[in-house]
Symmetry: C2
Subunit: 202 residues, 2 copies
DNA sequence: CCGAAACCTGAGTCAAGGTTCATGTTGAGG
DNA sequence: CCTCAACATGAACCTTGACTCAGGTTTCGG
């Protein structure tokens, strides 16, 4: 009757509270990122954060709740990181190249964050879907605009968005996380050649 | 000193044993596929298989062990399914189209199997890597041969393989599992246009 | 047929770890 | 300063579920 949220409002009201919440979120990112959802323990999170076990439940309903909050954070972080890198590209293909390079660089710098988003597929499917649906939506808009400006050929925006995202994710995994035998720029350059020209002989 | 395997050989020696093992593997695929690794229970597997809890440990060391065995199975199943569909394609681009359509059809028919392979990334990373490394290897070989025959343009085989696989996986997820608003053939047709011609205006 | 190996059974064991709670402590407004 | 809401603490609770084991039953070669 009186609370702002649906059930219980765990938003901190003082500066101290906000500080603790931030510590917990960072610790949770570490814990989930390195050990995975299953092996991650609340005591592991609170130990990293340097707070007592009980404090965790001052800020989160459950283990799954932190995870969900974290995925939303990471989702936003990745998208804004890429958006920032791309923001003043002269045309779509250049944007693709810098965006992909930025994405691979991101997975390389924060492999834990990448892992958390992907693991969400099996822990909190709805936020995982939301992440990619949002991503696709932006992508689609960009492709449509570029098509309007005559920068790229005609074709189905949504399907193209999914293809490009799938490529990026796997390239990020392979060349960002698994093995770094090519730099993000090298990967991006070769990829853009493919995206632009295709496989057909001309 | 006497066993064939490293520690304990759990291979069944009688027909009855092989039958039970098969039942357990099928039940495990169901259980892991629908509930995910974390929520899956050994009792769930044995109940589905119609055998006693203890029998499970006659055939597997642990929960993780079944899962690993299952991933290897599924990996082989997917690859042979696609290989079969592609086996007498006249050229590489046709092979790409039929292969993709077969892959999407597969994810649509066996969403649980697809899920198991992907979840392996977080449960048994080594077999997950092995799966894609094997996949890439075959792909690379095919691309190289096609390049030799002049069917496709010059370009880095391995990187192209990763791009194409990433695309397929995401298209399989989106159009095979999440929503089926396009048929596998429609998706494959549009995709092959992109793969072949690229985004550049000509 | 017989005996041993293979296989089956399910109640019981056990550790792990998520969640609760009763009891402090802190700090900002009055 | 005083007070109360916000926040902190960690021992204890309790469910869950992987795994063991002692005692059968089935199969199959000889």
């Amino acid at each position: 009757m009186t609370e702002g949220q649906a059930i219980a409002d765990k938003t901190p009201r003082t500066e101290r509270g906000r500080r603790t919440l931030r510590k917990l979120l960072e610790a949770a990112a570490q814990e989930f990122g390195t050990r995975g959802y299953h092996d991650a323990a609340i005591t592991g999170i609170t130990a990293r954060a340097g707070v007592a076990l009980g404090s965790f439940y001052t800020y989160f309903e459950s283990k799954e709740a932190v995870f969900r909050a974290l995925v939303k954070d990471m989702s936003h972080a990745v998208r804004s990181h890429v958006a920032e890198a791309v923001k003043d590209a002269p045309d779509r293909l250049t944007a693709e190249r810098t965006g992909l390079a930025a994405f691979i660089a991101f997975t390389r710098k924060h492999p834990e964050l990448y892992r958390i988003i992907e693991e969400a597929q099996f822990v909190a499917e709805d936020v995982y879907r939301q992440h990619y649906l949002t991503f696709v939506d932006g992508y689609r808009r960009n492709l449509s605009a570029a098509r309007g400006r005559g920068e790229i050929s005609e074709g189905p925006d949504e399907l193209r968005a999914w293809m490009l995202i799938g490529m990026s994710v796997f390239l990020g995994m392979r060349y960002g996380i698994w093995e770094q035998d090519l730099s993000p720029d090298e990967v991006a350059d070769e990829t853009i050649r493919f995206i632009s020209e295709g496989l057909a002989v001309r």
